[in-house]
Symmetry: C2
Subunit: 447 residues, 2 copies
């Protein structure tokens, strides 16, 4: 991304394809792919065709799903077979999910029949499931192999595997019996048998598990790969740590977007069209605007109060903003805690109690600052100062407890805490804080 | 965390330590450590003392830094040596950063002198640098070794390494010359020489690089480990992918906290004290409350306007909320893009232009909805409807462009975009939107 591709670009402009190819051969495949993302798909195809087939395939597999999909729509059936033959099954599935149905058909028509069966099967796993991100390129050992035979097996069959560092031991029915790392194989004596060095208490996922759960498991146990089984514990794939890093980054981006009231997108910002960005943002803004109108309606009920004492209006931004900020702090902590599985549904009372105490401390400080300030420089006198300080205190307490509980409540109702709690919290707190404020004002000031 | 430890807890309560130990021997070390986090430090020490030394050390290394630090303060000098001897250098450094200076002294007094030198050196790297998270347990090969000799070397010396899967090739001055994976070693013929199969174009970090940059590099190139060199390219350590996952998660949590106007914390929510939580939240709430007062001051200048036409007040929440939400959407997208290095400082004009167009589209939609609604059910007539719709349109445009540019401006001033842009955006937008609103009102309505 930050590499300097200017020489390469000028070679492309001049149509010096052979020189481009030679330059790309010297580069890391990831960087070469990043360069191809920046040229037209036609140019990318010209360049890839001139390269060594294996290297071209490896560079291709580092392209974004969208670029892969555009390129594959434009090449010959033979080339499709060549590419698909070399693409890891998880990358192939990702790409197939991007292209229109008629192109999927054309691609599947051009791959080997056993690949077609696998791909069709993998494509059926629900989005964001373990099955949808796994690959079927892994190494299987038998438990009666000795270390020498196992290493020999790895050396013969390892080149097509996504990883060789974790090998799986299965029985005749393909049920997962154990896992053995190449580290343990290498550190054991040649005569040791796989059965004796394999880990039997295998940590695994099932195909329908959520990919976020898979990421937690890999992170928690510091794994390089996690085996995936069907419901009968038959091994069907593996998920490697590099893919999990991408999952973590995507899930975090999604949470950031949801918490800022946007529909999640999968393209980087600069590559998203104005229309896509506008569409992702409009709906939530509309929903929240309508909620804002309701708040306006609440405010209208107190028109009498602020007609009599217009100075009351000037404290509204400070009150609602502080309430909104206090609530966002709490909801953000809880949403993040839920996402990292540090907090679960049963902790609702603990969270309430903790937020209440934090609010009592923080709210007292803020209210005191406000009271002193209004007594020193305010024009409204003691009762107005008291009204504002009390309202602020009550608002902070309300905002923090609602902010703490709402995400857990959303989760309990099987709603996404990030999307249900974060954008709504400011609006909810706004409405409540105005009610609190004017109720106190009406009583204390007798208006 | 979600495991059921109830049987273990009752064994601890009954003081049946041997039975506890036996149960823990059967568990994964990560889960065993998670259990020890839940008992008192004294009980944890009792249990660890009864276990096999190596296993106890491995479980110990999976404890949180805080628990490690408390335990090590309470054990004997011999036990300290035993623990430190088995702890990877990165875990040791993390732990040492947690304990008071006098305990660091005691620990360092009890380790082997070469470990003391290394630890002292590692402790000097700045927080959040590559040097501060690297480990010095890695495997070095020589380029003249053949594959058989290299594998033999790995088998003899690999047990103390953080990873054996990536080996480093250095010259006589310890300068990094190449990197070779165990996969390439195993897939090559026995007679091949390391020099011929090693990758010479090594991707590496320097000790002072930011750990977030390290995470990007490892994620971008799908690495299992990244070598770290000093400024003269001498190899001094490695950073493994599992540590990078923790870095990514921590950095994301920090960004969530900063964007919700909180000082970042390193403890999970439920383990943080009320005082810590209150302290982390108070300062920003105070700063933003004061800004809210300034907004109130702006509002006071228009007291005349809303005394004449109190209905104007009822649109304030809707206007400021929509502005705040529109601004947060934009700033969140840009902050995230900057964090993922998808956007850089030079993109400021591109971002401005994109946000402007998105705002024109989104703002038009929202303003239209508002106008129609006010014409149908509002009490203020055409001019009020026009005032509100126009103000909303201008507010959305202002909010989105400010929200897009502010994070980049913060970065350019070497400030953290997450902390400078996100909490402030709502407050800034509030103030501007009120000025826009009342300026338009005064002009259109002639008040």
């Amino acid at each position: 991304m930050n590499k300097d591709y200017s020489i390469l670009f000028s070679l492309v402009v001049e149509g010096r394809w052979k020189a481009v190819t030679l330059e790309l051969e010297k580069m890391n495949e990831v960087d070469a792919a990043a360069f191809l993302e920046e040229v037209s798909h036609e140019d990318a195809i010209t360049i890839l065709r001139l390269m060594d087939k294996d290297r071209a395939a490896r560079i291709f597999s580092n392209l974004s799903d969208g670029t892969m999909a555009s390129i594959i729509q434009k090449v010959t059936g033979d080339e499709i077979r060549l590419i698909m033959d070399r693409l890891a099954s998880d990358d192939a599935v990702d790409m197939l999910q991007e292209v229109p149905a008629n192109i999927v058909k054309r691609i599947l028509a051009n791959v080997k029949s056993e690949d077609r069966t696998t791909l069709n099967e993998f494509l059926r796993y629900p989005e964001a499931s373990a099955g949808s991100i796994m690959t079927n390129e892994y190494l299987v050992l038998r438990k009666w192999m000795d270390v020498r035979a196992a290493i020999e097996h790895i050396r013969r069959f390892g080149s097509d595997s996504e990883t060789i560092y974790t090998c799986y031991v299965t029985d005749a029915e393909n049920r997962l019996e154990g896992v053995v790392s190449v580290k343990n194989l290498l550190l054991a004596s040649d005569k040791a048998v796989v059965e004796d060095i394999m880990e039997r208490d295998v940590i695994f996922a099932e195909t329908l598990d959520d990919r976020e759960e898979v990421a937690h498991t890999i992170a928690r146990y510091d794994l390089l790969a996690l085996p995936v089984t069907d419901s009968e514990r038959r091994l069907v794939g593996i998920i490697t740590v590099d893919d999990v890093i991408d999952v973590i980054t995507e899930e975090n981006t999604e949470d950031f977007e949801k918490m800022a009231a946007m529909a999640p997108s999968d393209k980087p910002y600069l590559k998203s069209s104005v229309f896509t960005l506008a569409r992702n943002r409009f709906l939530w803004l509309l929903v929240l605007m309508v909620s804002g109108m309701i708040t306006g309606g609440i405010l209208a009920r107190y028109e009498n109060a602020f007609s009599v004492l217009p100075v009351l209006v000037t404290f509204i931004p400070m009150l609602t903003d502080t309430g909104g900020n206090a609530g966002s702090q709490s909801s953000t902590m809880i949403i993040r805690g839920l996402a990292l599985a540090e907090i679960d549904d049963r902790d609702v009372l603990k969270v309430f109690w903790k937020e209440l105490r934090v609010a009592l401390v923080v709210g007292a400080g803020l209210a005191a600052v406000n009271f002193v300030r209004l007594m020193l420089v305010g024009s409204g006198g003691l009762l107005v100062a008291l009204t504002v300080a009390l309202s602020l205190y009550a608002t902070v307490i309300m905002a923090k407890t609602v902010g703490g509980i709402l995400p857990i409540a959303a989760r309990k109702c099987h709603l996404d805490p990030a999307i249900m709690a974060a954008p709504l919290i400011t609006t909810i707190v706004d409405a409540f804080s105005l009610v609190i404020y004017f109720s106190i004002a009406v009583r204390l000031l007798g208006i």
